[in-house]
Amino acid sequence: MQPKTILALALCSIGVAGCATRTSDSEVEGAVAEVIKVSFKTRGQATVDRLNQDDAQALCSKYHDRPPREIAGKIEQSQTATIRYPSSGKLMGDWREGERIAQSGVGWQFTDAPTRPAGGSCYNCHQISKQELSFGTIGPSLYQFGKLRGSGEAIQKYAFGKIYNAEAFSACSNMPRFGHNGVLTEEQITHLVALLLDPDSPVNK
């Protein structure tokens, strides 16, 4: 059988003249949904249902990550409600563990073992410790994060919440909602908080 040919569907049913104009949004919408349905397949842990969007994902896609203020506000509100702080009240873990998590970009790919804990992929996008020269710049530099802000409870809470669900603070942020989506455990997040805030962490040297 020939490869599935959704783009080959007779979308020009309204005739050649009609096709000279831009296809309507709803037609494109329908075509995209079909294209997605036939173009992806479950592999390992990466099942096709991952392509189903939640409300935040759908809104961000719709507005190309720049939602109007009112919608951004709604997203931030709904995402804030998702954050679960540790019941123990302990927000700071071990910065050494945090550094290991920050370095690792594995997890959740169909090539990754599902049993292996995910990394935080932090260096992919942020400068963190100064020793690591290979860092990305999609996110802001976090070097001296704690040195500039202290390590009190308020900032601990902010850092935990931001890693747990970045969209609570900034709708359509590029940063994955690590806690909300279950990518990182509560404990892993506390280690990352320590990496950022612990005065002994290389981040604050």
Binding site: P3, A8, V32, K41, A46, R50, Q57, S61, Q109, T111
Partner: protein
């Protein structure tokens, strides 16, 4: 080697030099990239690809020399920079690789499954990323053909046609897919390719809606990736980005892949093809 590399990553054995400024790092990386340009193993693939084009293969024991890549049967020169495009015989928008699948089916008598079986060459790769495709010494006829066919458009302007409604629809679908965020990491193509001058680790990220970036990015695929010791194609680039986005697997030569490539080709319009290139 891979074990060592992974260990290095996991144990955070970072670069021991504290004094080297970021600027020097980037300058040296640039120098590294310059040094790579001296010689490109993609040439070896191009030579094989040219042979595959002429070789009689398949149940029909026929070559691909009558394959129509959009400029008429057998015309290879300049074909790559005018893809993806609409083909009347399949009533479908096709990129190079999906078109080659069609030719392998119609001219050589392969089944589509056979034609798509080994989309990407896979020999020992130091990265875990392409292991699903690897086995030892498993060159891919498809990859070799892509390397050669692209080389026959080297130096030419990227000019994807956009006159057929289905070409425009593919573009629009590609645009939607580019902004489509999903999965456990909330990623979309736009997450990494929506802003100018950004990097993942030390790798520069093209902003795909910026013509200059898109031209450079699109114009340097296919490329020999030194990290994998293989030539990789645009189809592979899509497949691999999608994998890293934590999406399910993007099927080779699927409509989504073609839509994305159509979108990117259009964004890169007017750029010059400088491929097969050599990259990290």
């Amino acid at each position: 080697m891979r074990i060592h590399r992974l260990l290095a990553g996991m144990l955070a054995v970072t670069l021991p030099c504290f004094s080297l400024a970021q600027q020097d790092t980037l300058k040296e990386i640039e120098r590294y990239r310059q040094l790579l340009q001296e010689s490109n193993p993609a040439e070896l693939y191009e030579a094989r690809g040219a042979e595959h084009w002429k070789r009689e293969r398949g149940p029909k024991n026929s070559s691909l020399e009558r394959c129509d890549l959009g400029l008429g049967p057998g015309v290879v020169k300049g074909a790559y920079v005018r893809l993806p495009r609409y083909f009347a015989d399949t009533d479908r928008v096709q990129d190079l690789e999906s078109r080659l699948v069609t030719c392998m089916v119609t001219l050589q008598g392969f089944t589509p499954e056979e034609a798509r079986r080994s989309p990407f060459s896979g020999t020992g790769t130091p990265m875990i990323t392409t292991e699903p495709f690897s086995g030892v010494s498993r060159p891919s006829v498809m990859t070799d053909l892509v390397a050669w066919i692209a080389s026959e458009s080297r130096g030419m302007k990227i000019e994807p046609p956009m006159s057929h409604p289905k070409e425009r629809l593919a573009y629009q679908a590609g645009e939607r897919l580019f902004y489509y965020r999903a999965g456990p990491y909330d990623f979309g193509c736009v997450t990494c390719h929506g802003e100018e001058g950004k990097r993942i680790r030390l790798q520069n990220l093209p902003k795909m809606t910026n013509a200059k970036d898109a031209q450079r990015a699109f114009g340097t695929w296919p490329g020999y990736r030194v990290s994998e010791g293989e030539v990789r194609s645009m189809q592979w680039r899509m497949w691999e980005c999608i994998r890293q986005m934590r999406f399910p697997e993007l099927e080779f030569a699927s409509d989504a892949s073609i839509a994305l490539i159509t979108y990117l080709a259009k964004k890169a319009e007017g750029g010059t093809l400088d491929a097969p290139s050599i990259k990290r």
